[in-house]
């Protein structure tokens, strides 16, 4: 952890989703918090683990089926969203748009928040379920049980994504 400040205000974010759009929410919030001196703990659980899994983090996709909110670029009706390649196309488009705003791709963004002093944890139970080990996660990530996370988040502001 880097230097504490801001009256030790602490933000804990639990990330449970691993789609491209949902990955950016905790990363942007964590980065903003660190930029203003707020301590950050990031806990990744269930599909959220994809965001810090080395083999997956670079290839996150946007869901085009069952996602009613594709409208910034184009609306994809659920039936058409199921066509092969649709999700890849939407994901490609989202990566382009995010890049234009100067937000880094997910792997670089994860490294950025780690370098800024945020701590990153993988949920042990979810990892057991998905047959993941510590080696599958980014190097700085630690493996933590839910009980340990409760201790860690004492007094912090908690957010579930």
């Amino acid at each position: 952890m880097t230097e504490k400040s801001n009256g030790n205000r602490k933000l804990c974010i639990i990330t449970s989703k691993g789609s491209l759009d949902m990955a950016y929410i905790p990363l942007i919030l964590a980065n903003s918090a660190r930029m203003t001196g707020i301590d950050v703990e990031l806990f990744f659980t269930f599909w959220g683990l994809d965001v810090i899994t080395k083999k997956k983090m670079g290839g996150l996709n946007v869901a085009t089926v069952g996602n009613p909110s594709m409208h910034p670029w184009f609306h994809i009706p659920t039936l058409l969203g199921a066509i092969p390649g649709m999700s890849a196309a939407a994901s490609w488009m989202m990566r382009q748009e995010i890049g234009k705003l100067d937000f880094p791709p997910v792997p670089e963004f994860v490294q950025l928040v780690i370098d800024s002093g945020a701590n990153v944890y993988g949920c042990k139970m979810s990892m057991d379920m998905m047959k993941l080990t510590k080696d599958d996660l980014v190097d700085e990530a630690e493996v933590l049980g839910a009980m340990e996370f409760m201790e860690l988040s004492e007094g912090a502001q908690l957010l579930l994504v």
Partner: protein, 102 residues
């Protein structure tokens, strides 16, 4: 400890200068002293870059732009400005509170 240099400088409630154009390097030093942040050459790389960008674009650079353009990387930037580089670097450089999220 507030330096006499700052007596004629206007600040908002959070300690950011109200008029960025009134900034001088001496004022920057005095703000840093007020924030108990001893400045090194590496701080000045960041501060000078922020000033340059502000003068060119009328806007403080994002941290990402600082780390991409100067040789100060993210880890060093956070070490140089404990308490949040976005806030502290802008404050010392006499710029307003940053609003960007990257």
């Amino acid at each position: 400890m507030t330096s006499p240099i700052l007596e004629n400088v206007e600040f908002d409630g959070d300690g950011f200068m109200i008029d960025p154009n009134a900034w001088t390097a001496e004022i920057g030093e005095a703000i840093a002293a007020r924030e108990e942040l001893p400045l090194t050459d590496r701080h000045w790389v960041v501060i000078n870059f922020a000033r340059q960008e502000f003068e060119a674009n009328d806007e403080a650079p994002t941290l990402r732009r600082i780390t991409k353009t100067t040789d100060v990387d993210t880890k060093e930037l956070y070490k140089l400005f404990p308490g949040g580089p976005a806030k502290k670097a802008a404050m010392v450089a006499g710029l307003g509170k940053p609003t960007g999220c990257i």
